[in-house]
Symmetry: C2
Subunit: 412 residues, 2 copies
């Protein structure tokens, strides 16, 4: 019996999972919580219908392995965990699409290469602030010292929380062995942005993930009474931050990247006082490392020029840096071809702005690609997140084609 | 015995009060607290040395009355209460300078008119958010309904707190009788701004208080992932607020007023998200009512133009409005003359940006003027607030001259 791929079953599975692990505010599958465990139990029951070996590794990742003629492995993966009040697609779409592809491959008998499906542990980092937990451990860059100090808002430490799920942070990086035979890593995900929708395209082949430069700037001027200080004697820190934010937009546009000032805080932050201090975050992203560096350099120069003109000081503090992570050129070609096959010859290559577990696989040297499916209005991380059913079905078909092409490539 | 005016005694009194009611963070004479009561007990002991009648009125204001030949009254006043972590001059300088002038007048025997010194209750509104409590009650515009609903951060209601100080909010406006015979109101205060210092002048005659328009604007765009949304598809509410703040500065400069955006709040206010919402406060002030209205109209037009260009919406909510309050032209002339007499012929006429109890007296129809003394670096409402001793002494001498001129005017 040769089972056919059934994309509608993926949607049915997604709805079943949502019904089991959501409330009126959305998905509640936060990693290292009982609801996440419930999701995984449900998922294990699905896996039990297939001729696969199931194993949780040292970092809490859940692996399903269909042995093939070769031990060389094609890995498909994504994550079941969600942010609090999350959507019905972010993460679990990739796992359940992978599950459907695995069903289809398993039904055909022994594949030429080993095929594995991984449900990464704690992609979102929603509870402890450490995203990509499981995939980072497998990539060997978990940063044990930092992770061991993390605690949730109730004061529960990460090492204690993960221990109840059978994970010891001290030995988590032993999970590196999982990618010893990895030949390729494929991940399907919703776009979480508006690009495909704005182009009226259902699917995109992802060329890599943006590099990220995240900093906090603090402008310091002089607090002053809103009534008592004439305009020409003020040193208003907020106006410097306002000018900086507008400069960041121009820089990002000119360089073809993105720049965001998402958090802003005045001191004293009252209606009747000129801000003596203003702290503002800067998040800049670009696919090209040199362009990303140029953006940050320009932003720094702009902040200093503005500060000089406004008579305030400015200080920078780095929050986070991650270099651009290009995906494998050949796999991008295969993904592009798979999309064209199911979508009347039309595909689109695009970078990913958000981070994904795929970054960790690419960083670890596993040839990697992602396939994006359109997000309606670019929404994610809330219950309004959605994608048209016909696009979901098309995505499953393209992902299945991609898996076949990657298997053939690995077998060759 | 005719006592001479002793300006140094005012400084000694200020230091004594500071020692009694401050801690390492500054003055703690917040109205309706034990430290404020301690300040008033100390002040009552000073008054007890003078031939004056002392009375607390229905609104908690403390009056000292030196009966004169006429029942027509010259009133001097200010406030002993401070903000938390306040300075050593804001408010109490005016009371203790008035006390010194009262000593000098009392020592000369029965004055031609009745002379009164008032310590207004709760000028700052630091605990309940209602400034000018006592003077508003005397002016007959306390707004009982609003005041009765106020509570401090511990949930203590204003009516309950003031009751422990012998004040019943229901009957507080009976204190209006205090100004039945008022002929003039004089108030000395630190400038709380940098204007006099920037002009190298010690003293200024205040022509009135700025009108105030205070609003909150909320720009609503679309929250978006900082990585996933290209610049051209964003509707960033914070950038609209940033453009608005810069427009406000230009409008205020052009119109000769002041405009401040002191508080700003993004939603969701995280480094990795474009702000879907940004609430920003606007505080505009001008001495001229028509110019103030023009400023607000221009700001509103600017906010709508920016919102249109940025693809966001903007909504306005009024927080507070107060019309400009000019002081009495003749008293301003007398104040100007008094300053010139003690300062080598040099004076300066200026508006007040901050609000003062004098506004309430002027509003109630009492001929009113204020005398400002230079603030170092324009600082107030913190422990760094300061004024040179020689300027304080000069201010006391000018205020004494002003009191004499005002008495002569009332007696004539």
């Amino acid at each position: 019996m040769v089972a056919l791929l059934n994309p509608q079953r993926v949607i049915a599975d997604l709805r079943e999972l949502a019904a089991l692990t959501s409330d009126e505010n959305g998905a509640q599958r936060v990693a290292w919580t009982p609801t996440w465990a419930k999701a995984r139990d449900w998922y294990r029951a699905k896996l039990a219908e297939l001729p696969v070996e199931v194993e949780q590794d040292e970092a809490g990742n859940l692996w399903a392995t269909l042995r093939g003629a070769s031990s060389k492995a094609l890995i498909m993966g994504s994550h079941l965990d969600s942010v609090p009040n999350g959507g019905w697609l972010d993460g679990c779409l990739g796992v359940l699409a992978g599950l459907e592809v695995l069903r289809r491959i398993a039904a055909r008998g022994r594949p030429p290469v080993t095929v594995r499906l991984v449900d990464w542990a704690d992609e979102e980092g929603a509870r402890f602030g450490r995203s990509l937990f499981g995939s980072s451990a497998v990539a060997g860059r978990l940063n044990l010292e930092w992770v061991s100090r993390l605690a949730d808002t109730d004061g529960v430490r990460l090492p204690d929380a993960v221990r109840t799920f059978g994970v010891n942070v001290e030995t988590a990086e032993q999970a590196r062995r999982q990618i010893a035979n990895a030949g390729a890593y494929l991940e399907m995900h919703i776009e979480q942005g508006p690009v495909l929708e704005s182009l009226s395209l259902p699917l995109g082949a992802v060329i890599g993930c943006y590099g990220i430069e995240r900093h906090q700037l603090t402008f310091v001027g002089a607090a002053a009474h809103a009534g008592g200080f004439p305009m020409h004697l003020r040193r208003d820190a907020f106006l410097s931050a306002a000018r900086f934010a507008l400069a960041v937009r121009e820089i990002a546009r000119r360089c073809g990247g993105v720049g965001t000032n998402g958090r802003v805080r005045n001191v004293p932050d009252i209606p009747t006082a000129v801000a003596g201090e203003c702290a503002i975050t800067l998040d800049m992203r670009h696919m090209d490392a040199a362009q990303l560096q140029a953006m940050v350099n320009e932003a720094r120069a702009a902040s200093e020029a503005i500060a000089g003109e406004e008579g305030v000081s400015v200080a920078w503090r780095t929050i986070y840096q991650s270099p651009p992570q290009p995906f494998d050129a050949h796999l991008v070609d295969l993904c592009d071809a798979a999309i064209r096959e199911v979508n009347g010859g039309v595909s689109h290559r695009m970078p990913s702005g958000p981070g994904h577990d795929a970054i960790e696989m690419a960083w670890a040297g596993v040839p990697t690609v992602m396939l994006f499916v359109q997000s309606l209005r670019g929404l994610s991380h809330n219950k309004e997140e959605d994608t048209r059913p016909e696009h979901l079905e098309l995505a499953v078909r393209a992902f299945d084609r991609l898996a076949d092409k990657a298997m053939a490539w690995l077998a060759a």
